[in-house]
Symmetry: D2
Subunit: 375 residues, 4 copies
């Protein structure tokens, strides 16, 4: 297999994470992954693109993303631009027959996301959405424990995902607050991650009831000309029914002071419980109703080579992965799918399922909390 040419659009938070992942994936995860060539990087203006290409080690730079997605030397396109551009870029890349690694959420509207999933189906290339938290060895171990029945039948689940980047009442109004530019609020930024975890642990969601809230109804306009309206939700909460019969609830806030990357989930089973918290991403809490009663308790499992692919990063337990390592695993999963001619998870089609959930939450809330069915 000849080395895969990588094209990267965007060099911000996620752009850099993709760049580092592309640089690290095969070095970390091994020679059974295809080789890659950092071919083309796109940002604007052009000199910024050149500087970042130099820093990240890309061979060429451009300020024209349409050129990038058509470039014959580019086999895989990383889309890390603001949410409102995902749709257009992904469609173009898919149409050009490229594999696509696109950041979440897919798009501003469900209609756009559906269009993307349809385009991916037509293209037949490998697609992957950037749900990095489900790459965590701790999370995968939770899935394995559940699959093995260690906590019995899953009966209940709870999850929260919170940050505080919109907590300050005095923060200026930005495009993030406008439906037309940003789409959903905290549901799109954070909530969809939680959905990916909950579905990954408990299976598909059947129906839900929900409520949302705009805490800061207006914010000062940056030009001092008054206050702009906040059009999308600061918090959202839903009560879920799963296809399996389990129930649960999820809640998200982008205005939760002190929460920096809180993404917690607890899974209740008939024999035990598993809890995970992203702010302590190298730990898993496990309670199993076995052994002497007087010795039972939640145990804090530190991730280790027992939890693949942790050992590919460090062979020593307790030595910890970081956020960027999750992206390395994600890139590795994408490369393996390309190598094997298979599908990566979550593909555009899979991720559309997550998007349906967050839009169902918004729909239920808009209607005052009525039950919305999924699937």
């Amino acid at each position: 297999m000849k080395p895969l040419g990588i094209g990267l659009i965007g060099t911000g938070f996620m752009g850099k994470a993709h760049a580092l992942a592309w640089r690290g994936a095969r070095a970390v995860l091994g020679r059974n992954l295809p080789e890659t060539r950092l071919e083309l990087l796109c940002d604007t203006p052009a000199d910024k693109a050149r500087d970042m290409a130099d820093q990240f080690g890309f061979a060429r730079a451009t300020d024209d993303w349409e050129a990038l997605v058509r470039d014959p030397a580019v086999d895989v396109v990383s889309i890390t631009t603001p949410n409102n551009l995902h749709h257009r870029m992904a469609l173009a890349a898919l149409e050009a027959g490229k594999h696509v690694w696109c950041e979440k959420p897919m798009a501003l509207t469900l209609a756009e996301a559906e269009e993307m999933a349809a385009a991916a189906a037509r293209a037949g290339t490998v697609t992957l959405l950037g749900y990095n938290y489900i790459r965590n060895p701790a999370f995968r171990h939770a899935q394995k424990l559940i699959a093995e029945g260690r906590i019995g039948r899953v009966v209940h689940v709870r999850g929260w995902v919170d940050e505080d980047y919109q907590a300050d009442p005095d923060l200026a109004w930005t495009w993030r607050a406008r439906l037309a530019d940003a789409g959903l609020g905290t549901l799109g930024d954070l909530g969809c991650h939680l959905v990916s975890l909950v579905v990954g642990l408990c299976g598909p969601i059947e129906s839900l009831i929900a409520d949302t809230q705009i805490i800061h109804q207006t914010r000062p306009l940056p030009d001092g000309s008054g206050r702009g309206t906040v059009e999308n939700e600061d918090t959202a909460t839903a009560i879920l029914r799963f296809a399996s019969g389990a129930q649960g609830s999820i809640s998200t806030s982008r205005s939760a002071w002190g929460r920096k990357n809180r993404l917690d989930v607890e899974v209740h089973g008939t024999k035990g419980m598993i809890c995970f918290a992203q702010e302590r991403m190298n730990e898993l809490q496990l309670y199993i109703n076995e052994g002497p009663k007087g010795e039972q308790g939640f145990r804090t499992i530190l991730t280790s080579p027992e939890h693949p692919p942790f050992g590919a990063f460090v062979p020593a337990p307790g030595h910890q992965l970081g956020f960027n390592d999750l992206k390395v695993i994600e890139a590795g999963d994408l490369l393996a799918a390309i190598r094997d001619g298979g599908a990566a998870y979550p593909s555009m089609a899979d991720a559309l399922g997550f998007e349906r959930v967050i839009h169902a939450i918004a729909d239920s809330a808009r209607a005052g909390g009525v039950r919305v069915s999924l699937g």
Copy 2:
């Protein structure tokens, strides 16, 4: 003021807690509280009552609760019997003109609870329901911080209350599973405590949508004759709208492995956040958006004499109160109300408000999650 005669009905978990509270209240909290005389204890059979009266230091014993509530030497009646007896006993005690300290929940049905509140209003004596967790100095400090505006305007709240006493699928069927005997399930046992916390921190609830779940639909009958039906909920979850405009959610499970006395609440404000967890009842977590950004973080406040009435128990910070100490504070609040001719909180009338919430949750769930208004 002559010493108040105490009559105690019941000697189980809560009976003992009341007995110890009566023994400790004035010794701990000081001479400005009225003196008490442990006058009469009721349990069945009579010899058990005698033994427990001896152990707890009550002067007399009886197996006739109706005699106790009428006894002229009894001024205050502690009702600590199973939930289905609260209604009858409280009505009788109130009719006899006694002050009443009754364990929660008030009754099996809202109608009964309303009857009790009406009887209390007629009697004009002091009534107090056993919502012990709101006595915690850590909780009171949370209330004080909120009242002082330390976390700004309260905008969101989340809470959970879980235990695992019904988690084991093989546990035998008991009266607890029958609506006619036990009333609500986890909502009555645990959920109402959480309501008392949430209302205490965020004010009255305006409306809610909810869902409940019976995890173990049947349980083995103790006599081996088959399986009995579980009629009341194992879990319940509600999304709340508060009169203040805040939103939030609460969830409870009696089948949550590993949770022994989990009662957590987190209050989101526009300037900070407060979190409390009963399993670490001597701690309070506080985040405030002030000071250098690089030094901000949740701080773990250990309860201390700075948090009254902690200092009445131990003058040294970090030396910790226990569960029974909460009941001592509760008894002290009741004694102070009797001394002052005032009302204790939560009285029958106040607690009726908590009961309305848990019944509204059950009602919403029964109707598939429709919005139910309160007050």
Copy 3:
């Protein structure tokens, strides 16, 4: 057995704790304990003694401790006065044939402590020193786990006991800083507690090397007339060799900002580890090298009725004991010893062993860290 008459000297922190323990012991722990009568309370001035006797429920009050220890209606004497009075009071009480419950440390000097132990041996009554932390059900469970071999052979131990009551450099000079009045510094206040834990978990100490430190060499005199010299240690650290062959270290500070009642110990065994922290006194951390490697981790055991005598306080797991409850257990142990004509632990003789350790630490440090043998 006729009710035991209790005499209490002192009504401060520990005086109140003893009073509450006397009030609670039999009510909590049961009718197999002897009955007690709160007979006589001593404090100065006399009217304070009267007020506190009223509050605590003692029948009589006095300002003459010598009268109290001789009083024929007093069978047991609780000594809770400042450390420099323990020696004199205990000798007098023992000479009068009383059982003695004395707060730690025994005395200011080892010679005095030896004298007390000798007097106790002569008197033949029951003596008990106030090492309350070893009463904790969590601690007792740790001892049980070790005795059962759950963590294998104990090979190493570490402990810390810290508070911050002398952390502030601007704190005024008091008698606590003078050797003649206070004896040892942090070793006497805090260190001896840690010794009681370490010895209780790992057995007798054979030899040690140590160092101590006076952080604040002088403090402002309260009358503003200059600065007084601090004569006793703010911190002390020792490296221990145990008779069993285990090694370990302990360290204490009374000037450790943020530590309110830190008393931590970790016991390393050949099969596992146990950790305990008094600031979370209802928890025990246990790691055992058994079960699947990928599931191993420290488990947090919440104290419960599985850990006697927790269940005598509350029958529900996770509902927590407080500091004063430890004193109730202590009083119960003393009462049981009196009932059985046996010895309580730690008696004056046992506690003398703890005092030898803290004085050996001071001796080693004074000599620059030379090895000091014990026993």
Copy 4:
């Protein structure tokens, strides 16, 4: 500046960490760092070297480390081989005029380490020892807080570094147990890391007293022919006096069940306290005696862009670095020193100071705990 040619010796735990760091440093930390070229990788046998060069992206491979250190295309040599080879390889690389990045500990004996430091002085190239934990933004923030006086004068420090890779009594004997092959035991593997932290926070150590312990005196020989003797220490503990007047203690064990990468340090100051724990490497605990007493507590600071160079990895707070990221920072520091013609910290000379401390601990212990002076 032309790209620096990197030569890497070893491809194990640390070899991979160096390789990833070389790949990531400039991409993460920016274009102001010199460019690097992954030139030559050495391992044995030769085909393993070729495979790893392919995986890590090195241009060439060799099984001859002496050729590598002499290779004119190699400017910097990464030495990640077992400890007993550091000395020989570092001397050769320095003699060849290369910059050297060498893993810790420097050598098996102090004499060898001294020889290396002398060679480094002669060579005048940049040297750096692999004390990765002091690269942590959390640790650097602790240093900054101390330098700014946020916790006042540092008066006391405690630290522990523990793992459990030698905890199992049934583990086979290896070369690690032989002084001639491995040198010191836990002091060389783990203890020196702790020394780097403690010195980094509190300055140079003046003298110490210490004890060490071999827990498992013999281990089964791998060939089943009996048991081999363990010649180096499983645990070591020292009480320290610092040049500043502060005191403290450190302890290390390689046989501490449940500890995977425990490396904790707490620094006591006259105004506050800082605690750090490597197993939660993205957190810092800070207590400062300021603000309302009732709100004081240890705050958990999550690392963020406020703590450089965290933001170079992820611009979002709480998103966490991992172990390998520390090596990226380390590589960046080395590159910056080469660029600036300055020195990196800790150089061979600096690291010799850490080695002196661990050997002084061994010396003190060997002599029964006598005081050993440093510097």
